[in-house]
Structures are given as structure tokens and as C-alpha cells.
């Protein structure tokens, strides 16, 4: 694959490792994400239409039939692709690629064409069909570091860019660089089994780099050439 500005080996490439052998499907990441990123609640009726706004969803796949049935969990969030299909389709450059490998979304550019949502092969993007409502005093729960998106805006997982910046600024004030594992998106921070690990893929010594080379690792839909920044580790093998 040709190297371009998106795929520099220099600098930082943020990546998330999802260890499926540890994931229990417990939904802690989902609620942590709601709390951190001011996601709106749509209610039963709209949720039934698929208009929910979760930035992480945990897919559950059935395998086999009773009594030899298994269920497997797979958390899916924005894959932060290097060759992101959502980026070139945006007519207003609301979705773009930053120098740290993040697929970023500029909310006040978004005009709600939803082209990016259609282009995303991972179905990781959600659309605000309605104006969010936070009955008082639920507004107090809102994170001041993250803007609240209004109706007509497309949104998705940002790898909690505000938390990345927070740690970077704090580290800078102390005259050092963030250490590996210090930066944790909300989902990673809370994950009870530590199934989620976050770090710099370009740093060969980081935990994510090590895990990315594990023989259990794979990425979703590799045949599309999107080069995702989310790396999965296979689960369910006994005595690996």
C-alpha cells in the first residue's frame, strides 16, 4: 500500500486493541462513553427504529444451535481508518484525518448529508435525528470538554480526543511526554476486564504495538484496505 500523508511512520498513530478473549459484553464501555461524550438518549421508540447514538456497540453473534450454542461479543466503534471511506465523500470536509491518525469530525461544518454514514463499512457512525433533550438538571452531567451536538449532525467515536489532549497538556506542564498507558479513552479506563488497550502504534515498545503483533490479532474487513486503527485479538481459544 502506498504511503501517503495519512500513513506516516513518524509521529503518533493512536490505536485501540480489543481483546475479545477478555470481553464479557458488560456494557461498561458503552455507558462510560455516553457519560464522557455527552451522547444523547433517544428513547424506546426511536431506538427501535435504529436511531440510537451509541459510539460503541457490542455485537453479539450466535454460533451453533441448542444445546451446543455459543454467543460471542464484539465491540465495534469507529475504526479510525488510515484510508477512511468516510472522508472523501464528505462534501464539506467535516470529516478529515488528523496528523495523529485520528479520523476527526468537525461538528460545525457538518451539514448532515449522511454520506459518511453510508460509506462507513463498519456502520460506526450515528446521526442526530433530533435535538438532544436533557431534562433539568441532567444538563449538569454534561462534560464541558465536549460540545453537545444538535439535530442534523453526524458523529462517532473520537478516541476521546479531549482526554488525549488533557493528558498531553498536563504532561507538557510537567515538562515530559505522556507515558504509554497514561492516555485512556473513557471506555478503556473503565473496562473491567481490561479488554481495551489504547496507545501509540508507531511506538514499537507500546503495549498496543506488542499486542498488534500477537498471533491472535486481526482487523475488521481487511480486504477493503481501510487500514483500521482498531486491532482485535481473537478469543475463545483454550490454552493459548
Amino acid at each position: 500500500m502506498a504511503k501517503d500523508a495519512n500513513q506516516s511512520d513518524e509521529g503518533i498513530r493512536w490505536a485501540l486493541v480489543v481483546d475479545l478473549d477478555r470481553c464479557t459484553g458488560c456494557q461498561a464501555c458503552v455507558v462510560a462513553c455516553h457519560a464522557e461524550n455527552n451522547l444523547q438518549i433517544v428513547g424506546e421508540k426511536e431506538a427501535a427504529y435504529g436511531r440510537w447514538t451509541h459510539w460503541i456497540i457490542i455485537h453479539r453473534y450466535w454460533e451453533g444451535e441448542y444445546p451446543n450454542v455459543k454467543a460471542r461479543f464484539m465491540p465495534i466503534m469507529c475504526q479510525q481508518c488510515s484510508e477512511a471511506p468516510c472522508e472523501p465523500v464528505c462534501p464539506v470536509f467535516a470529516t478529515y484525518h488528523n496528523e495523529e491518525g485520528l479520523n476527526a469530525q468537525i461538528y460545525n461544518r457538518c451539514i448532515g448529508t449522511r454520506f459518511c454514514g453510508s460509506a462507513c463499512p463498519y456502520k460506526a457512525r450515528v446521526y442526530n435525528w433530533f435535538r438532544p433533550e436533557f431534562p433539568e438538571p441532567l444538563t449538569e452531567q454534561l462534560n464541558p470538554d465536549v460540545s453537545v451536538r444538535t439535530r442534523g449532525i453526524m458523529e462517532k467515536c473520537t478516541f476521546c480526543i479531549q482526554r488525549i489532549r488533557r493528558v498531553e497538556i498536563d504532561a507538557q506542564a510537567e515538562g515530559r511526554s505522556p507515558t504509554d498507558g497514561e492516555i485512556q479513552p473513557a471506555c478503556v479506563q473503565t473496562c473491567p476486564t481490561s479488554a481495551l488497550i489504547f496507545g501509540d502504534l508507531n511506538d514499537p515498545n507500546s503495549h498496543v504495538s506488542q499486542l498488534a503483533h500477537s498471533r491472535r490479532s486481526f482487523r475488521l474487513l481487511p480486504e477493503l484496505g481501510t487500514d483500521p486503527g482498531v486491532i482485535y485479538l481473537k478469543g475463545g481459544e483454550v490454552n493459548v
Binding site: 456494557q27 473491567p192 479488554a195
Partner: protein
Amino acid sequence: MSKKLTRRDFIKIAAGATAATGLAPVARRIVIEPFVQPPEETLPGQATWYASTCRQCPAGCGIVVRTINGRAKKIEGNPLHPLNQGKLCARGQAGLQVLYNPDRLRNAVRQSGGRGSREYEPLYWSEALDLLAEKVSSLGHPDRMAFLGGLMPDHLYQLTNSLLTALGTAPPIIYDLQCTLEGRRPATQLSQTFFGTADLPVYDIAMSDVVFSFGANLFETWMSPVAQSVALGSMRQGKLSGRGLIVQFEPRLSATGASADEWIPVRPGAEGYVALAIGRIIVEERLGHVGSHRDNAVLYQNVDVREMSAASEVSVDTLRRLAQAFADADRAVAIPGGYLSGQHNGFASMLAVQALNRIVAQIGRQGGVFLSTPAPTVALRSKPEVNTLSDVRNLIKRMNAGEVDLLLIHGTNPLYELPAALGFAEAIKHVPYVVSFSPFVDETAVWADLILSDHTYLESWGYQVPSPGTDRPVISSQQPVVNPLYDTRSTAQVLIELAARLGGRAVEAIPWADEESYLQELVTELYGSSLGAFDARTPPGFWTLWRQYGGWWSEKEIRQEPETTDIVQKPLPMVDPQFDGDPEEYPFHLYPYSSVALTDGRGANQPWLQETPDPMTTVQWGIWVELNPQTAEELGVEDDDIVLVESPYGTLEVSVFVYPGIRPDVVAIPIGQGHQDYGRFAQAVTGSNPLALLAPITDPDTESLAWGATRVRLSPTGRKKKLARLESIDGQGRESIG
């Protein structure tokens, strides 16, 4: 000259004008300042983190709360806390919505239109307390008062207990649905029977190579789900000795079962038989590496593996293979879970499971069962103990007989949480005066005359000794992370003020000026203990560090090896399961299970938790009944069809979820929805409470509710209600409206 006024210039001028008109001329800059006098520790726009304890379930995980400008913004796990090690579950993450819930009570209130009217009139606290004091002092006899509580923080339990004892009233009855579903009372009794102590044991999942979980939903709601999940992570991929194996024995594949390596769909109530058969095979065939099994032979002398296999519908080959795996493992542990305890023969099954740990010599060993070391001070050891259903039944009987004149209810919602057939709803009408301490108008508070609304946990003081604990003594501290939002008052403070009003022995029993000084006195007893993870030079310094760390714990691991009692010298009991309902008329076993998001229903008023998809069904905001595909076909129903579920005690209409991971003779319904009250988000979900179906029967050994022992029948209604699923069942993906 015409200079065009740019937007930027306009804003500058406008801002200047505002500054000039709004402020005195000496002011040189505008500072947007939300407080008239900001609290000392608060800088505008800067986050301050406070350590406290989560109260969304009784586990006692440590939390740190990010607050900005005096508002709580995010809850995270306390990374120093030995129990949850910085991690938190979905419910813990949603705690802000307890604090900022729009349906909270904002004052002490009296029901002005009479009980059940839902018309409230605010009261000044002094008035409310006078009213309560007058009700207490005008009782004919102290016995005519009763206190019903949920699993409350330890300090509140102690205060309540001391006050009630001083007044000559019976100690508080502790009973809530979460404790029932996780089998806390039977687990305590098991510990008592097996190890001679009431402390709940810790099952060392992290270090184990083989875990047999008998109906314990380890990674959802059972006991200490976050600590157990942390342990799972290390067991699976964190050990050098290789990946551990988990086998789940239960009639319905739970999310825990899905995370397990193998699921054994045992017949309901026959889990103990499986454990007995596995034990018998290990002892008889001298499996494993513990040497002689002669001491254990007596345990299994009456067990016939073939009979057990037939009764549990687990083949002898499978039993033998599992026995081999369990005995051959370097470290193996068997866990008696909540579903076991919810059977008519629950205690017998739990004994059989615990005995497995004994025969592979895993009691007190790494990767086996151990007890956590208690805190070094006596005062901090007293903690609430869950009462039996018989105690609750007695209370109901007394209420019906008019023997209770004053009922105080804290932290439990019996009208929702008890099986309707027990008749609490009727009994409460016979109590002349009912006081609730609920911060929300729940189903029970609707029947209270007076609601002395407590603070929510993020506004409260307290401490808790987590039980089950962890590998070292831990006392988790709770402190307000924000100032109370409203004119609510902590129940501990209310009791202290009540005692002051009552005078005499009451004030002698709890003489403290306020809750904080009481706690400070209690906690600083730990000052000077050589075990602690932090050192303080003075008692006040200790109090500060206690709050900063979020509690006190030992720096080093201290495990306690349990000593087995003489239970292990008798044959294990073998008790046939019994179910309420004629099998001909009611062909299915009902399995009501606690929801990962809503727990026992207490989470239903939090929109984040309502919108959280159930892990197995991906349904949000709903209630459903899970049917095996074969069962659904026989009934002629499919996904989203409404069926009528009938037990001998009640009925329920609910949508079908065709669920491949459930036995054909079992139907499962999640608990948590079906609220009549409890706020807009809880009431937004249509459906009724599955507890209406439950037979009020108990396991005679533990006198705990046999919540898994009711039979039901199902009939199609011909109607449909679409469940709000995340997954698409028509293959069209999201937004397939039609």
C-alpha cells in the same frame, strides 16, 4: 472615510460596552464567575477529583469523581482501590444520573392528599423531624415500630441498629431484591456452615486454571462483578501459566455463560446433582493430584452418578470429562451462585458445590477459596446482615394484624421488589404511619405519609467494608463529591437529630453532633494501624488521607485460610427440587434474572442504563420473555409476538425474544422494568413487573426466597410489539422503518 465594521470589532466593542456599563470603573477585566464565593478547593474551569464509594449495588467499589465548578461530571473507578482497581461497571458509570435525576425529591415531603395520592407538600426539616419524633414517642410500645432497610452503608446500619436497640425496638430488617437474586443470605449461611464464619468467601478466579460457576453471573451482577471481571481478565490473558477455563452451569446462557468456554444447560434445580456427581467421580476414580480421597469418601457415599446424570440431564461422559478437568487442574475453584440459592433445594446444592473445593484441596489455596482478613478495629466490623424472607413475612403478618404503628423504610422498595403474592401492598395499608427515606418517589414511597428524602450517594458520607472483600482488608470511604443539590438530608443525620429530640437512652446511644463527627470518630480508630497503605502523623491527618485515598486498606496482601467445620464428615444432603405450579398445567420453569443495566430495578430511573443494550438480546428500554426456538415454534410465536405468561400467582404480557441459549422447558424474563412509579424514565417502559408471577416459596434450609422455583404457562395473544433491538433481525440493518 468609511471603515467597515467587522464582526470581530463589533464583538470587541459590544464586550467593552458591557464591561463599562455593568461594572464599576475600577474593573479591568471580566471574569465569568459562577460562585459568589467559590469553595476553597475549586478553581473555575479546573477539575477536582474526589474519592468515594459507589452505591449502585452493594459491592463497594471505589470511585473517583471528576468535578468542575462544583458539579460532578464523570465517575471513574479509583485506581488505588484494591477491590475494583480503577474499573467500573455500566451501573457505576451511570451514577451521575442518580444525582442529577430530574425526578428527585427536593425536600422532605408529606403526602397532602393522603397516601397513594401522589400529591406532596414540602416540609421544613425541623417540622418533619418534630413529626417523626412525635410519632416515635407516642408509640404505645417500642415493638410497634419497625424498620425495613436495603443493604445500606455500614455506618448507617450501625446508627440505625444502636438507635433501635436503645428504643427497645427490634433491629432493622434488611432485605432487598439484589441481595435475594445474588443469594447473599444463603451464601452467608453456607460460609457459616462450611467455615464457621459469617464472612463471605472470595473465589480466587484470577489465579485459577479451571472455574466451575454454578449459576453465578460473575461478570454481571453477582456479588462483586467488577472485581470478578478484573479477575477474569487476568485469568484469561494475564497469567504466564496459560489461559484459564470457565464452565458455566445454568439453564439459560447468561452473558457470563457466553464469556465462559463451555455452557452446560442443567435442569433447573439439578445443579447440586451435577456437583455431587462430579465429586463422586473424582473421589471414586481417585482423580487429580491430591493423593488419598479417603477422608472425602463419606461425603459421596449415597451418590449414584447415573441417577444424578439422569436427573440433571447431563450425560455421564460429560460429567466424567468435567470431573477430570476439575481434578487435573493445578488450581480449580467451584462457585455456588445466586441461581442455585433461588431454588427450593438451594442450600443443598450450594453445599455440594462448595464441597468440590474441599475435595480438590482448594480451600485456602491460591486459585481456590479464601476469606478476606477483617479490618483491624472492632467497631468497623459490624455490617448489615441480610434477613430471611421469613423475617419479612413475619413483618407482613404483624402489619396485617395491626401490630405495627410506625414503619420506617430505607433503601428498599418492597412494593416492587417482593413477590406480589406476599401481600406487602395490602399489609402497608394496615400501618397507620409510614415513613420513607427514599430520594425518589418509588412504588413504596407512594404509600408513605412522610418522605424524609435522603441524599443520593454522591452527596453522602459513609463507609463500607466490601463483602465479599478482596485479598486484603479494605474499608471503602464515602464522602460528598458535590454539595447536596436540594434540601434533602442524609438519613444518618436524621437519626442523630431524631435521637437528640427523643433524648434519654436514644441520645445516649447515638450522642454525636452530626454524621461527620460520628464517622470521624469511628474511622480514626484505624489511625496508627501498621498495616495501612498510607501513614498519617495525626488523627486529623488520617481523616484527610482517608478521604483522599477513598478509604483504608492494607498495603500488603493478607489472605485468610478458612478452616472447614465438621460438615465435611457427613454425607452431603441430596434434596429434590420442588416447583410451585402443576407441571401439566404450567409446563415451563420461570427464570427471572437480574439485568446487567438495571440490576434489580433500581437502575430503571437512569436513562443511560435504559438505553444500554442488554448484552445478550441487544434490547434497549424493554422487557421480553426468552424462548428456545423449539418452544417458540411449538407455541406458534416468533420474535416480537406478545404472549401471556401465567403463573398460579399472576400474569404478565410481554414480547417474545427467540433465544437460542435456553433450555426448551425454561423461559426467562429480565427483572428491572414494569415500574408504576419511580420517575419518568422508569415509567416510560410499558410492561409489568415479573415479580408478580413469583410464588412466595422459600428454601426451607435458608428461609430465602426460592425465586427460581415458579412454573408458568404461555399463550399467544396474536398481538405484536417491536422490541428496540440493536441488532437487526430482518437483515436490513438499521433504520429499516416499516
